[in-house]
């Protein structure tokens, strides 16, 4: 066993946070720069992992296993495959960008801010690398606490309501998951996620299986979020500080979908298939998320809220993709099913990455304009395109990526999802495509037209912003945005950069669940 790279990538942020804790409160610049610079280490490590996993993405690498609480059979198990590696890159990248961006935007209680943010990163990375249920759960919840405090302390006006709502929703879901985890343990005798998947618990007992399935599903669905469980999201996203929103949309939402792919699908394939095909509850919810989210976006006048709802819509594609893969089990005899299933999972997991990058970028952009105007109301703007061309340009790229313009990142993931789903659950795929139309509508109509096009009205601007200065992007904002824009374009032209890793994982997964 060589260098425990996964332990390092998970716990280096904890180390940094300890260092931050030791730096005196008054030395704010030290805190900022130390956090940002040192956070490059996990970023570098994750890129190294990405490269190392590329060769054989379908199986676990860098696995670590130590006895942690043997009395209750809990082990310290880590491992990384293609999917995890991609998510790790996303996590570390967005975190570093957030630290950097926050150097210039967070002015009060800096020490606490960085401390909590670093803790958050520990939780997020931990979830992506853990292979033990309890261990997974621990990181899952560890991520929850700092986010709660981040929203509550640095958030907007309704931050207290939003933070408590966020916390309680997630807590409710995770408590249900805890019961399900214990149930799986009692059925299989292990907390190891891979072994549990191999053991196929509750195979003979549909009622129990369904109960455990729904417990997991609800926990993850709340995080994703899928339609009836999504109500926390607009509040939390809207009230969180910019970096918080970025991480929320960019990484935290992915935890739920990751859980669906990593845990629910392999462990309860039959049940999942049942609810995806025979009683298609899940695809229905996914489609509702897509369409409803997009429609609500069209009705929103708060820019940040709009983007928040767009996440609901976009994450609906992910759910649709996963449920399509699950439904493939029900029609496994049909030709090409396996390929379609693999494609749809590829799409869903690619969507995780691209949505992370795109929506992260969008929230950054919203934060930037808000810092200038101190308002997020779309009606307050108009004709900004001529005033802030640089900002306009980047917004255009990101927005088009979001609506799935070919050549940009969003296209491929949506394409894969619909390609896969169409072969398996065609009705839902067709309805889902409607979502793309609405997305295009609100991006073009709401964002591009209302904000950037038209005449700039200086008087109105002065009135709503109390004569704030309107400047184009500063250097640090450009530095924050460029990596994201590059990624969007890069994946748009060369999706294999990511899909190659994901494909290995999906192939292995589908081969395991299909008879």
């Amino acid at each position: 066993m060589n260098f425990p790279i996964l332990t390092a990538i998970t716990f280096i942020p904890l180390l940094i946070s300890t260092i931050v804790l030791l730096i005196p409160k008054s030395k704010e610049n030290w805190i900022r720069s130390v956090s940002t610079v040192l956070s490059l280490i996990p970023l570098a490590l994750s890129i190294y992992i990405y490269i190392a996993v590329r060769a054989d993405p379908g199986k676990m690498h860098f696995t670590e296993e130590y006895s942690w609480i043997p009395a209750i059979d809990v082990y310290y198990r880590m491992g990384v495959d293609g999917l995890s590696a991609v998510m790790l890159v996303l996590t570390t990248l967005l975190s570093t960008l957030c630290y950097y961006y926050s150097i210039y935007t967070i002015k009060n209680r800096v020490k606490e801010y960085y401390f909590l943010f670093l803790l958050l990163q520990v939780g997020m990375s931990g979830v992506f690398v853990s292979l033990d249920f309890i261990f997974f759960y621990v990181f899952w919840e560890i991520g929850l606490v700092p986010m709660y405090l981040l929203i509550g302390i640095w958030g907007g006006e309704r931050r207290i309501y939003a933070s408590i709502k966020f916390f309680l929703y997630t807590l409710a879901g995770s408590m249900a998951m805890l019961l399900a985890i214990i149930g799986v343990y009692l059925a299989t005798g292990t907390f190891n996620i891979l072994e549990a998947a191999a053991a196929q618990p509750f195979a003979g007992n549909f009622a129990l299986s369904a109960a455990a399935f729904w417990a997991f599903f609800v926990a993850f669905a709340i995080k994703v979020p899928i339609f009836p469980f999504h109500t926390w999201l607009p509040d939390a996203h809207t009230e969180a500080p910019t970096a918080g929103s970025v991480i929320l949309a960019g990484v935290l939402l992915k935890l739920g979908a990751y859980g669906l792919i990593r845990i629910v699908l392999p462990i309860f394939p039959k049940t999942f298939a049942f609810y995806s095909y025979n009683v298609p509850v899940i695809p229905i919810l996914a489609v509702i998320s897509i369409v409803y989210g997009a429609l609500v976006c069209m009705a929103q006048w708060d820019l940040k809220r709009l983007i928040a709802y767009s996440s609901v819509s976009h994450m609906g594609y992910v759910t649709l993709g996963i449920s399509a893969a699950a439904a493939s089990l029900a029609i496994s005899g049909r030709e090409g099913t396996a390929t379609s299933a693999i494609i749809s999972i590829n799409g869903a997991s690619l969507q995780l990455f691209t949505h992370g990058v795109i929506t992260g970028g969008l929230f950054f952009l919203v934060g930037m304009i808000y810092d200038r105007a101190h308002t997020r109301q779309i009606r307050d703007f108009g004709g900004l395109g001529s005033k802030v061309p640089y900002y306009y340009g980047i917004m255009m790229v990101t927005g088009f990526a979001s609506l799935g313009l070919p050549g940009l990142a969003g296209f491929w993931s949506e394409f894969f999802v619909f390609r896969g789903a169409f072969a398996i659950i065609p009705i839902f795929a067709i309805i889902g495509v409607l979502g793309i139309v609405f997305t295009a509508a609100y991006i073009l109509w709401k964002i591009v037209q209302h904000i950037f096009l038209g005449e700039f009205d200086q008087e109105k601007w002065d009135q709503v912003t109390h004569q704030a200065k309107l400047t184009d992007l500063a250097t640090f904002e450009k530095i924050t945005m460029w990596p994201l824009v590059i990624l969007m374009v890069l994946i748009g032209f060369y999706p294999s950069l990511i899909v190659r890793l994901l494909n290995g994982v999906s192939t292995a997964l589908v081969n395991n669940i299909l008879p």
């Binding site: 209750i72 990181f139 919840e141 560890i142 805890l178």
Partner: protein, 489 residues
């Protein structure tokens, strides 16, 4: 080695109490070092009991006329009692010095109350159970009403007293029925008498069970025998509240487990159903009422009721423990008690520090605590998260063990109600955090709070233990499983 050696920790506790009481009587000077003397006694007792625990594997044995059962279960509670005594003494030093001139009496009563916790855990006879129960009750009444010039303290004490006396009278009636049915008061003999009992006579055991549960329910603060607790908690001197919230509840569970498992294993179906009902009521009512509380001591009282409900689930899902078993109800109870001890005493330490410095117990006065005392606010978050059951803190391990046991015995409804309640509980704990972190100070720059050293020590210690139990639970769980000597053999 001699079996009586295992009573040494108790004896030390008792001797230190005699010493404190006696020294206080001699001379009329104020003795500031009296609490430290008491603390020395409890520390020695703790050290001895830990040493004894690690020494040999103890088999259960009843000694002194069958009155006392010596086993690792009782050693667990001797450690529990010594820890509580030490912490309560540390919490009291600054607080009580300002409020009462009767230092000697106070510390000897605290020691006596803690002594009676360990006494309850070794009781192997109904007579012994009763008398130690009353020893604990009476010392608690006195401690609650200790600030006799404070109307709230007297009021709390009289309410506590009335409820306690009624509960103990009802419990006694139940005990007398048990005695009548089996012609013995010894727990083991009762179990023997009950194992081949005439079916007609079983009808006597049901009311006896219910009546016994009144008494135990009073001590463990379960609904509907909880009415005293919010008032008593609010009115009592805060260190005493801390004792009631942890020590008294722990003692209640000690005796509950002992009696149910030793004397009434044949009636598990019946008492498990009864306790399950109580548990559901406690969790639900405790959590729902806690939400609307404005006083933090009251809030903690109601949350204590809820926690008692969770702990009862562990007892309900009791099964014979064997090595290698992962989720066992009673070890869940014991680990939960440890976790609850650390987190709740820590929270009370913060409350005491706050009250000591600012004279208030209103949750709204905690606004902006993070800026005035990062230590207090930071650790309070840990304690509250532990009480919610967030991983990384001990509370998670406790909940995991309890829920695991419930699921293993297929009490799904209990587990589901418990998780719903855990979420509801999150609401009022977060409320405190909200005030401490999110609410800005009403006056911009107030003084920072400088805590007394003893309180800081307790806060840091309990915080470390809360985190340790969450992150490195192995030794604690092993310790707890080793404590199941007699109980499950």
């Amino acid at each position: 080695m001699h079996i009586f050696l295992f009573l040494l920790p108790q004896l030390i506790l008792f001797l230190s109490l005699v010493l404190v009481f006696g020294i206080d009587l001699v001379g009329s000077k104020e003795k500031k070092w009296l609490p430290y003397l008491a603390l020395t006694g409890t520390t020695i007792s703790l050290a001895v009991s830990i040493y004894l625990f690690g020494w040999v594997e103890i088999t259960a044995e009843s000694v002194l006329g069958g009155m006392i059962a010596i086993d690792s279960f009782s050693l667990y509670f001797q450690i529990f009692a010594a820890v509580i005594a030490s912490i309560i003494i540390l919490l009291s030093i600054e607080y009580m010095a300002l409020r009462s001139p009767y230092q000697g009496e106070y510390y000897s009563l605290i020691l006596l109350a803690c002594f009676s916790i360990s006494l309850l855990s070794v009781s192997a006879d109904l007579v012994m159970v009763f008398i130690s129960f009353e020893l604990l009750s009476i010392s608690s009444y006195i401690l609650t009403g200790f600030l006799r010039n404070d109307p709230k303290s007297s009021e709390a004490a009289i309410k506590y007293f009335l409820y306690g006396s009624i509960a103990s009278a009802m419990m006694l009636y139940g005990m007398s029925l048990l005695y009548g049915a089996t012609a013995s008061t010894n727990l083991i003999q009762i179990a023997q008498g009950l194992s081949g009992i005439d079916p007609g006579l079983r009808w006597v055991i049901y009311p006896a069970l219910v009546l016994l549960m009144v008494g135990f329910g009073f001590k463990t603060v379960t609904v509907p025998f909880h009415q005293w607790s919010p008032d008593a908690y609010e009115g009592a001197p805060t260190p005493v509240t801390a004792f009631l919230a942890v020590g008294s509840i722990g003692a209640g569970f000690a005796v509950l487990i002992r009696v149910m498992l030793t004397a009434l294993p044949d009636f598990q179906v019946n008492w498990a159903a009864l306790i399950a009902g109580l548990s559901i009521m406690s969790m639900t009512l405790g959590n729902l009422v806690a939400i609307s509380q404005k006083n933090i001591k009251r809030m903690l009282a109601y949350s204590g009721i809820a926690h008692a409900g969770y702990i009862l689930i562990g007892l309900v899902s009791w099964d014979l423990w064997y090595p290698g078993m992962v989720f066992d109800g009673v070890s869940g109870v014991l680990i939960y008690l440890l976790v609850y001890l650390a987190a709740n005493l820590g929270a009370f330490a913060v409350v005491i520090g706050f009250e000591h410095k600012l004279g208030s117990n209103q949750i709204s006065d905690y606004a902006g605590l993070i800026q005035r005392s990062p230590l207090m606010a930071g650790t309070m978050v840990v304690f509250l998260f532990s009480l919610i059951g967030i991983p990384g803190t001990g509370g998670f391990v406790g909940k995991l063990m309890i829920f695991g046991a419930a699921l293993r015995k297929e009490y799904y409804f209990l587990a589901i109600i418990a998780i719903i309640n855990s979420v509801v509980a999150g609401f009022y704990y977060l409320n405190v955090i909200r005030y401490m972190f999110f609410q800005p100070l009403d006056e911009p720059q107030r003084d920072r709070i400088q805590l007394p050293k003893t309180l800081s020590a307790v806060i840091i210690l309990t915080c470390v233990f809360t985190l340790l139990m969450g992150l490195f639970a192995q030794p604690f769980i092993q310790f707890v499983q080793a404590s199941l000597g007699l109980i499950t053999s």
